[in-house]
Symmetry: C2
Subunit: 383 residues, 2 copies
Amino acid sequence: MFEYKVLASQGRARAGVFLTSHGDIETPVFAPVGTQATVKTLTPAQLDELGATLLLSNTYHLHLRPGDGLVRELGGLHEFMQWHHPMLTDSGGYQVFSLAQTRKIDDDGVTFKSHIDGSTHRFTPEKSIQIQENLGADIIMAFDECSDPTDHAYSKIAMERTHRWAERCLTAKTRPDQALFGIIQGGVNLDLRTVSAQFIASLPFPGIAIGGLSVGETKDEMHATLDLVLQSIPELKPRYLMGVGTPEDLIDGIARGVDIFDCVLPTRLARHNAVFSPKGRLNLMNALFARDPRPIDETCECYTCQTFTRAYLRHLIVAKELLAGTLLSIHNLHALIQLVKNVRISILDGTFESKVPAWLAQWEGNAERDLSNMDTSVNKDLS
Amino acid sequence: MFEYKVLASQGRARAGVFLTSHGDIETPVFAPVGTQATVKTLTPAQLDELGATLLLSNTYHLHLRPGDGLVRELGGLHEFMQWHHPMLTDSGGYQVFSLAQTRKIDDDGVTFKSHIDGSTHRFTPEKSIQIQENLGADIIMAFDECSDPTDHAYSKIAMERTHRWAERCLTAKTRPDQALFGIIQGGVNLDLRTVSAQFIASLPFPGIAIGGLSVGETKDEMHATLDLVLQSIPELKPRYLMGVGTPEDLIDGIARGVDIFDCVLPTRLARHNAVFSPKGRLNLMNALFARDPRPIDETCECYTCQTFTRAYLRHLIVAKELLAGTLLSIHNLHALIQLVKNVRISILDGTFESKVPAWLAQWEGNAERDLSNMDTSVNKDLS
């Protein structure tokens, strides 16, 4: 259990397989995010059709609602949401720092108020593990503190706390069927990242995550951090780059040796009417698409592209029909899942490095992590 | 084309088949409603899985948005929404009278303002047929006026106008691949209904609809009207009871000789967290279901009941996850589609009349056409 095998590599990129209680995860892999025990607007049957294997769900959200005790009582997260492939839960740390209304951190843990109803809660490393054991995902994460990446002094404090918490998580863990991953922090401070990578690598985690990236730093900072961190950790553990990312980020990350990615981007973009395409990101609300008989992407094999025109999808968006969110989510998730699957094949057959420039060129117009590049001026056209 | 064959009957109930350009419709049949060229929250693939054959879409809505010209340009409604089984469009009359902001009716037609943007439009019988020919459904409807059913004087005026408009629709129709159905009006006034049934039956329509029911009259009034009307029209034409209904309405209607039904109830209830069940209608928001490991209906074979617990469905509702609408719509549509399919089988094998009492008993708690019977006191429990 939790063995990671590298099947092939090209440069620093690797194709491997990670064995879990709910089946093997072929890496590299992109994990769709099911924050509240559902990948928004999609049934498990649709996710299966998309070729999803690993799904991520959020400890913070599920603890608050419906409660991890209830999920456990109903057979655990796989049974609750009826996803019978591997799952991963985060530690709740990131959401406590980004979503909770107020929070007070001390060396033992964090006290915070729920963003839902203002009720007071407390997470400690032990509590995070207990919740994640109730949820029962195959991969669980150490409780960490994600700091402002450019604040060196505070990043050092947060990193040291993250290290102490990592040891406490290892001690607290009781279930043998869950793989606990440690998290490297340190912001974009290379000295701290070196210390953190070495420390986390020294602990008996079956997998290692890089946290605190894709939180506002530049691409160059992210790449420099990744380059440094990944050379400091063992080859034979899977590496998980948390919360990343765009098609370009995935290719860049895999080229540097990352194995696992997750990101809300595909489903979040879908809810903003935006889709990935080889011609760059498109906002289907745009009146340009009103009579467009083409699919989103003529080369795409997803259900949405094999079935519907841009004109129909735009009609659903303009008419505020919820089916739009479903169909656009299918396309965006398919794009990233298939991109990573194709990259994996190219690593196995030794063509990865020769294909990278074409992939990067193909996807460059989809690179932004936020929604700010979308032309919203046309959104006024609701007719 | 448009031949209707009665394969078996029991009492006044019939099992038959109606031949259309996009395949045969086995009757009795329940048609889900796809108002804006989509059955809300469901893909055509999911509708296919549910065993849906005939779908209804709305002329008024599609004319306003995206425009019937655009739908025609993109290959017609089947191609636009990718439903390759039979479709039916209504005439737009009912929506003009129920949705449009202002309307002025004269003997030639109706001028009204769009509920979307206040723009002025005019429907005449010829215009309704032209729009429906652009949309291209297999069954199209004559333009009619639906009046307050209890106002005898005005119902007579509206009925006479409906009759003149029926003749104009027959004259205006040009496409040989669409079956134009006439509509009987007259409110709950039996003298008017007799006149209207005889008049519409005298015209060369390949099918006949009963309009102006399920608009606020009592069950007894509806049944008396149906009994009267259905004995006045030819056996060898399909009979369509518009906008009906509940499980009980379907059984009552089939027992009286109705072949085709449509209703928004299953999807509308789903959006209000309510589901059909043999124990009566349930509102899954109710805190009673928070830890309930059972499916909605243990005897139901739909994807939702075969896969998810009430506890999970309630979690999706409380967490405001859109997947709830999809999963509840699947269950509610499956319930009505399968009920009608089972009724059809019982007519074919001669057991219908013996099964009616049990079916009525089983479904009696689901009879209400509105949402007023739902216990909303528990809806405050959002935790």
